[in-house]
Structures are given as structure tokens and as C-alpha cells.
């Protein structure tokens, strides 16, 4: 079993050699006959191959190499395609609006892909930083359960304390917090300010409560922390899943644009 590092090095080497070969072939042609058709078709073939990965994922029941192998090929053919794209465009920003749209679509596609890999490799290890991982589709159910428990605790305290202090805080601050996923960007950026502020304000009530109230406060605090941990997982997993909603539409979109590009080039490009 090759280590991940070994695999990374060998795949990167293969992609680099392939890109070097395409550059060498292109550069070996006289500048006057160099019409970028070679790099264009290589780029087109690479993109077709990249899209096939998605089809492979849909037919997981067939033993057509493992999805992990396909992903590796997808990554390195993707990087190879970026090199060919640079060569194809000649390091220049195109003039026409259509080609500019095509250029930006490709760049967005490549950037979203690179972001996706970065997100998955870096975010995945952080998901469990705050306790056990929860299945994504169970997060909202657990969130509602915590909200119900918090509501019950606040209800208890008003009956037992005869003071609305904790209930007021619950209504003003905790109900909105429990109502849905919160502090999305803070979780992504690793900032704890919002939850620290909420907990600080909650704990500040402790001195005004009787022993029963303090018990209720501590239990409420546990629910708040648990809810924040759920939000943390929700934010991270949403990014790990959500980037595909940009990457895949762009992938299909670029095929439409490429088809038009080919028609335009062969119709008006002087071939």
C-alpha cells in the first residue's frame, strides 16, 4: 500500500511530465502554423475526462476502478488541464465578450475545484474538534431537541425562582440562538467570539440566582455549548458539501460554452 505522500509525488510527476510534453509539442511547431488547435483539443479531451468522474460516481455498483483512483485522476488531470489552458490562451486575457465569459468560467471552475480539495483536506480533520461527529442529516433534529430541552429548563426556572431573569435572557438571546444554524462564518474562520459573548452574558446571571436557578443556568449552558458544537459541524460540513453546488454546474456550463467556442472557431477562425 503506497503512502499518500508517495502517491502525491508520483501523480504530480506524471501530470508535470504530461504538461511538459504538451508544451514541447506546441513549442516545436512553427509560430505561424501554431493555431492553438492542438492545445484546444487536448483541453477538450481533458475536460471530457474530468466530467466522466461524476458519471462514475453515479454508477458505484460497477467495479470501474475505485472512486479514490478516479478522484486522483480527476485532480491531476484537472491540474494538467490548467496548464494546457494557460498554454491555449497564451497567457492572455481574451478580447471578445464570449471568450471572456469562457475564460472566467474555466477559471471559476478550476478555482472552485482547488478550493474543494483544500476545503476537504483541511476542514475534514476539524469537524471532530468539538466532540463526536454527528450525521449531517441528523443535525437539525438534534438542534430541535436541544431547543426543546432549553425551553423546558427556562420554563422550570420561572416556576421555581419566581424571577423572570433567566427566562428573559432565554427569550432575548437563547431562543434566537437555538432557532437555527448560527455564526456560520465564525465557525468557518475558527472565531469563538459570538459564543463566548453569549456564554459570558449567561454566566453573568449566576450571582442573581438562587441554587435551583444556578442549576438551571448550568444545564442551559450545557445545551448552548452543545448547540454551538452542532453549528460548528454544520458550518464545516456544509462547506465540504456545498462547494460542489458551484463546481458541478460550472462543469456542465463550460461544455455548452466550449461547444459554441468550437463552432465559432471553425466557422470564423479561418481553418
Amino acid at each position: 500500500m503506497r503512502s499518500f505522500a508517495q502517491r502525491r509525488y508520483s501523480n504530480a510527476l506524471i501530470a508535470t511530465v504530461a504538461a511538459g510534453a504538451v508544451i514541447a509539442i506546441e513549442m516545436s511547431r512553427p509560430p505561424l502554423v501554431r493555431q492553438h488547435s492542438f492545445t484546444g483539443w487536448v483541453l477538450m479531451a481533458s475536460l471530457v475526462f474530468l466530467v466522466v468522474y461524476n458519471a462514475r460516481k453515479k454508477i458505484a455498483v460497477l467495479p470501474l476502478l475505485s472512486a479514490a483512483t478516479w478522484l486522483q485522476m480527476h485532480l491531476y488531470v484537472g491540474l494538467f488541464a490548467v496548464a494546457v489552458f494557460v498554454l491555449h490562451t497564451g497567457w492572455q486575457y481574451p478580447d471578445g465578450v464570449f471568450n471572456q465569459v469562457l475564460w472566467w468560467t474555466f477559471v471559476a471552475l478550476a478555482v472552485s475545484g482547488i478550493f474543494g480539495i483544500w476545503a476537504q483536506r483541511l476542514i475534514a480533520p476539524q469537524v471532530r474538534n468539538r466532540g463526536e461527529a454527528i450525521l449531517y442529516n441528523r443535525i437539525s433534529a438534534l438542534r430541535m431537541k436541544l431547543a426543546a430541552e432549553a425551553e423546558q429548563l427556562a420554563g422550570h426556572s420561572v416556576a421555581e425562582l419566581g424571577s423572570p431573569l433567566l427566562v428573559d435572557f432565554y427569550c432575548d438571546r437563547i431562543v434566537p440562538f437555538m432557532a437555527g444554524a448560527r455564526n456560520f462564518w465564525s465557525h468557518l474562520l475558527g472565531a469563538r467570539d459570538p459564543i463566548d459573548r453569549l456564554l459570558r452574558d449567561l454566566r453573568a446571571l449566576e450571582r442573581y440566582l438562587n441554587p435551583r436557578g444556578r442549576d438551571a443556568l448550568r444545564e442551559l449552558e450545557e445545551r448552548v455549548v452543545a448547540k454551538d458544537n452542532l453549528d460548528h459541524q454544520y458550518a464545516l460540513v456544509s462547506v465540504m458539501r456545498g462547494w460542489l453546488f458551484i463546481h458541478i454546474p460550472l462543469a456542465y456550463g463550460i461544455f455548452v460554452l466550449i461547444a459554441l467556442h468550437v463552432v465559432l472557431v471553425y466557422a470564423f477562425g479561418g481553418f
Binding site: 453515479k58 455498483v61 460497477l62 475505485s66 472512486a67 479514490a68 469537524v127 461527529a133 460540513v237
Partner: protein, 561 residues
């Protein structure tokens, strides 16, 4: 609006006997023959009468001369009584590949496999209800029997032990849930009574003399077979081996149904205290009076660390314990004491070969190089965090031969594995991507295909069984009565009971009580799919693997990848 339902008769044990041929007359005839005629029928409760067990849990097997009845390595769920004729146990040849090829498991073709993408039911747990009407389809009931073409030549060149009328065989695999230890062939045309292990279990439970008899056979035959197959004894002549067989002790530790105690311990004390409940086989620094061979099951090899025990490795079938101590004493005169502690995990069969015999016969036969090689292997520790080993042993994960392990630092929660599993099982995922975790290792709730599948123990119909071909534990949906015994027995909560529906989504209910019909379900390792487990193949991030815990080197490699 009332929910649509589909009614059927709720299945029960013995709705479908092992064989429809077992009429009352045949049962009476069988019970009049040895050794069954020695069984006291009055010891059995009315609901489990001896005659009912024989009628429902046995079948007559007719063999022609040369037929291979059981093959070494096959997983068997039954034992055989010789009613007439003679059967031979081939002792010194592996006949696994003799005769026609093994009956292949039925697998989907490429097009049918692909068609699952659009043919799968849209509703959960849909079944073809009409199939439940005909339960004549039973696993292995229609097995094709291979045969030896030139039996006389085989007899001439092999060592064969004859089993005569009135004797039994095949009890070792049936009782220990292990592969068959020898190949048995029909030496003459013969008639056998095959008793499936559910019946064998009941006979053992209620008849002490019968239990004593078959346990005695089990011990004697297991001992001889195991010593013969161990590489330690490969270079010994027959006389030396005979001496060792005569002097070796057969020991059993732990409970046959260990899962109940294990669950209780886990709930009461947590995993770090589970070791306290493990029966000690030998203590560290005990006098090494013998070389211990693990015959079946697992044992924990640990050493003292402060006030606790650090797990060093797992001893599994065919592993030897105490070799380093005996070899060191014999070679260099070091104290003859065990270097580690050995405790039973679950149910363990141990062979204790006396040290004096090891020093007299085994060590000289190995030679300098062979001895050093075995010493290195016996002391080998894989480069895995000891805490991980503790976790795997404490939770009995080491039982798995296809444990679903997920590297949580690589898993992105895409659920491609779950989708692939659902696609391969009529849109019903057969595992949950969730389970106990240690560091970045998660053991998902998927059937581990245990070496010791305790889920089989209580099944009244044999619906959950181990396939003879490759040892996979499978649930036969047609014969499952939904009693939930297997789910209760599984120490890992990897079996689920589901309420079944017809293709239109209507629940199928019992026509008498109007309660839902349930079936046990679990991961079958994509038994009918081409290319093996879809979950592993579908993981794009190399986060998920199905690991055989017997291959500790592969596990270490995967952990350190």
C-alpha cells in the same frame, strides 16, 4: 386515511423444515439407530420435543461412493451421523480443490448490476411478497456434491480414518463456528443424517450425556487436527507427533455465548475495565509450563504497565504464545517464565503443549534459522499506537474480517459510501456511517463478518448463516422470521430489524395479529454484486476500508498511510 397494508401469515421456526422428507416414520427409524437411540427424550420440553427437533432440523443425505461430503476450509453449519455405510476423514491431504469447482455464489451480471440504478424500488425495504409463499428455497439445501474420481488411488496414497455406522462427524465446525478442519468422503454408498446446528444446540442443551459425548469428540479431533496443521510441528516424525498429541492439554476459556457478559461489562464499567472480566489464561512471569496454541477465538497479549495492562498484540487462530520464553530458556538458559499475560477475549480454545516436549522435539527440529525466525515473529509488534490496539481489543473489534474502518481526518461526510450501499441493496443502505471512535479511527456500524459470528447462535431457523463458499455471514430473507435474536446477540449493534413493505409501499402485516412483519437486515458485503463491497469502492477519499483484523500488518500499514 388508513395506511395500506398487505397481509401474510407470520413466519415461525419450523414453518419450513430442513427437509420435507422427514416424515414421522423416518423420524422414528432415525431415533431407533445409534447414537440417537441413547438420547433420553423425556429430558426435552414439550415445545422442543426430540422428535420435533429430528423432524425439523435434520435431513437424510444419500451419498455415493467417492462423494465429498464436507471439504476442509468450508464453513459448515451442520453435523452428520452415519446411518449406514462408511465415511473416511482424509488426514494428510487437502482436497479443497478436488472434484468440480465450488458452487459459485450467484452474482449479478454487468447489465443487471447497471439496471439496479433504475430498477431499484422507490420505497424502503420493499419485498416481493409472493416469494414468501414458497419457502422451498433454502440455502445449501440444493448443494451440488463434488466427488473424487479415483477413490482407490486416493485411498492408496492417503491416510484415511474411517467413520463407521453410528458415529458422527463435522461437529467441530458446527460447534466452534470455524471452517471444516478436514475433508470427509464417502468410502461406500452411504446414508447420513445431517443435523443443522440449531438442532445440535438444542440436543446439547437438554441431554447431558449427548453433550458429553460430542464435546469429547470435539476435543479429541480438534486437538489432533490442529497440531497437524501447525507449522511448528511440520518437521516432526509420526512418533514424535503422536507423543505430543498424547500429552497435549486441551483447554477452553471464556463463555461460548460471551457476548451477553461482554455487553453487561461494557454497560457497567466501560471499555477500559473490560480487561478485568477477561479470563486469565496465563499471568506474566508465570512459570512457562507449556507452549500455548490458539485453536480458535482470540486472546489478548498484554504486559504490566504501572497498575494496569498494556495490550501488546492479539493472539488469533494458529498463533503460538510462550515460544520466546521456552526458546530463550532452551537456547540461553534464561528464566522459564512467560514474558506477557494472556487473557481470553470471548471464547478461546487453547492447546497447551508441555515445555519438556517442545524442548525435546520441536525446537531441535526447527534448526537455528527456523527458531530465530519464529522467535522474531512471536515477538513482532506492529507500529500501531497501543491505545488503538486497546480500543480494538476492548471493544472486540478484532473479531471482524471485514470491519468497516473510516479515517475521520479524510472522511468529508459526502455519503458516497452510503449511496453506493443503497444502490446495491434495492435502495436500502445496510450500514450507518457512525460508530465508536478512537482518535481519527471510526468503526462504522456495518456487519464486520466476524470470525466468531455470535449472531448465528440463537437463530431458530438458520436464516442467518455462514456461506460455505467464502465464509460470509448472510441473512436469508425468505427464512428469517424476524425474531430479533441475531440483532440481540450482535455485540456491535450491526443488525437491524426492518418492517417490510410491498412494491407499492404498503406495509406487510401478519394476517392474524395485524402487526408488521419484520426482517433482520445487515451488510452482506455486497455478496451478489460484482466487484465486492460497493462502499469501499465508492469512497473517493481513501477514507473507508473493509479490514480483515487477522491481517495485523495490513491494518498497521493502513493506519500509518
Amino acid at each position: 386515511m388508513a395506511t395500506a397494508v398487505h397481509t401474510m401469515h407470520r413466519p415461525h421456526r419450523w414453518d419450513t423444515p430442513f427437509s420435507p422428507e422427514m416424515t414421522r416414520g423416518r423420524v422414528a427409524r432415525v431415533l431407533s439407530k445409534a447414537p440417537l437411540n441413547a438420547i433420553d427424550a423425556s429430558l426435552f420440553p414439550p415445545q422442543l420435543a426430540l422428535s420435533d427437533i429430528i423432524r425439523n432440523d435434520t435431513r437424510i443425505v444419500r451419498c455415493r461412493r467417492g462423494d465429498i461430503i464436507v471439504r476442509e476450509g468450508d464453513y459448515g453449519n451442520s453435523t452428520f451421523f452415519v446411518l449406514s455405510g462408511s465415511v473416511g476423514v482424509v488426514l494428510n491431504q487437502n482436497l479443497a480443490e478436488l472434484g468440480p469447482v465450488r458452487r459459485p455464489a450467484s452474482r449479478l451480471k454487468i447489465l443487471s448490476s447497471l439496471a439496479q440504478l433504475w430498477r431499484n424500488d422507490r420505497v424502503a425495504e420493499a419485498r416481493e411478497v409472493s416469494r414468501y409463499g414458497d419457502l422451498s428455497l433454502r440455502y445449501e439445501a440444493d448443494a451440488v456434491r463434488p466427488f473424487v474420481k479415483d477413490l482407490d488411488a486416493l485411498i492408496a496414497e492417503s491416510e484415511i480414518a474411517a467413520i463407521a455406522e453410528g458415529d458422527m462427524f463435522g461437529e467441530i465446525a458446527a460447534l466452534s463456528r470455524t471452517p471444516r478442519t478436514a475433508t470427509c468422503i464417502a468410502l461406500t454408498d452411504c446414508q447420513l443424517l445431517e443435523l443443522r446446528w440449531q438442532g445440535l444446540r438444542d440436543l446439547r442443551r437438554y441431554e447431558p450425556n449427548f453433550r458429553q459425548q460430542i464435546d469429547g469428540l470435539y476435543r479429541t479431533r480438534s486437538l489432533a487436527t490442529h497440531l497437524r496443521e501447525s507449522p511448528l510441528f511440520a518437521n516432526l516424525d509420526a512418533a514424535a507427533l503422536g507423543h505430543i498429541i498424547a500429552e497435549t492439554h486441551f483447554e477452553t476459556y471464556g463463555e461460548f455465548e460471551w457476548f451477553s457478559a461482554f455487553r453487561r461489562q461494557m454497560e457497567a464499567a466501560g471499555e477500559s475495565q473490560v480487561i478485568q472480566g477477561e479470563p486469565t489464561i496465563v499471568e506474566q512471569h508465570d512459570y512457562a509450563d507449556g507452549l500455548l496454541l490458539v485453536r480458535s477465538g482470540f486472546a489478548r497479549v498484554s504486559e504490566e504497565l504501572a497498575f494496569g495492562q498494556r495490550t501488546v498484540r492479539i493472539a488469533m487462530k494458529n498463533d503460538a504464545f510462550g515460544f520466546a520464553a521456552i526458546y530463550g530458556h532452551w537456547r540461553n538458559g534464561t528464566p522459564l517464565t512467560y514474558h506477557h499475560r494472556l487473557t481470553a477475549i470471548g471464547y478461546v480454545d487453547i492447546l497447551r503443549v508441555p515445555t519438556a516436549l517442545v524442548e525435546r522435539y520441536v525446537l531441535p527440529s526447527l534448526g537455528e534459522e527456523g527458531g530465530r525466525d519464529l522467535l522474531q515473529r512471536s515477538d513482532f509488534e506492529h507500529n500501531v499506537d497501543p491505545d488503538v490496539i486497546n480500543f480494538l481489543v476492548d471493544r472486540r473489534i478484532v473479531n471482524g474480517t471485514a470491519t468497516m474502518m473510516i479515517n475521520t481526518t479524510r472522511c468529508v461526510g459526502c455519503d458516497d459510501c452510503v449511496r453506493a450501499c443503497a444502490a446495491a441493496h434495492n435502495n436500502n443502505p445496510r450500514f450507518v456511517r457512525h460508530g465508536p471512535e478512537h482518535g481519527n479511527l471510526m468503526i462504522a456500524n456495518a456487519c464486520m463478518q466476524c470470525q466468531d459470528p455470535v449472531c448465528l447462535i440463537g437463530c431458530p431457523t438458520g436464516a442467518i448463516h455462514r456461506r460455505a463458499e467464502e465464509g460470509r455471514v448472510i441473512i436469508d430473507d425468505l427464512t428469517c422470521i424476524g425474531c430479533g435474536t441475531c440483532a440481540e446477540s450482535c455485540p456491535y449493534d450491526n443488525i437491524r430489524l426492518v418492517e417490510i413493505r410491498d412494491h407499492n409501499g404498503a406495509f406487510i402485516v401478519d394476517d392474524a395479529t395485524n402487526t408488521p412483519i419484520v426482517k433482520a437486515t445487515k451488510c452482506d458485503l455486497c455478496a451478489d454484486q460484482i466487484g465486492g463491497p460497493a462502499c469501499q469502492r465508492a469512497c473517493p477519499h481513501d477514507a473507508l476500508v473493509r479490514m480483515d483484523m487477522r491481517d495485523q500488518a495490513a491494518f498497521a500499514q493502513w493506519m500509518n498511510r
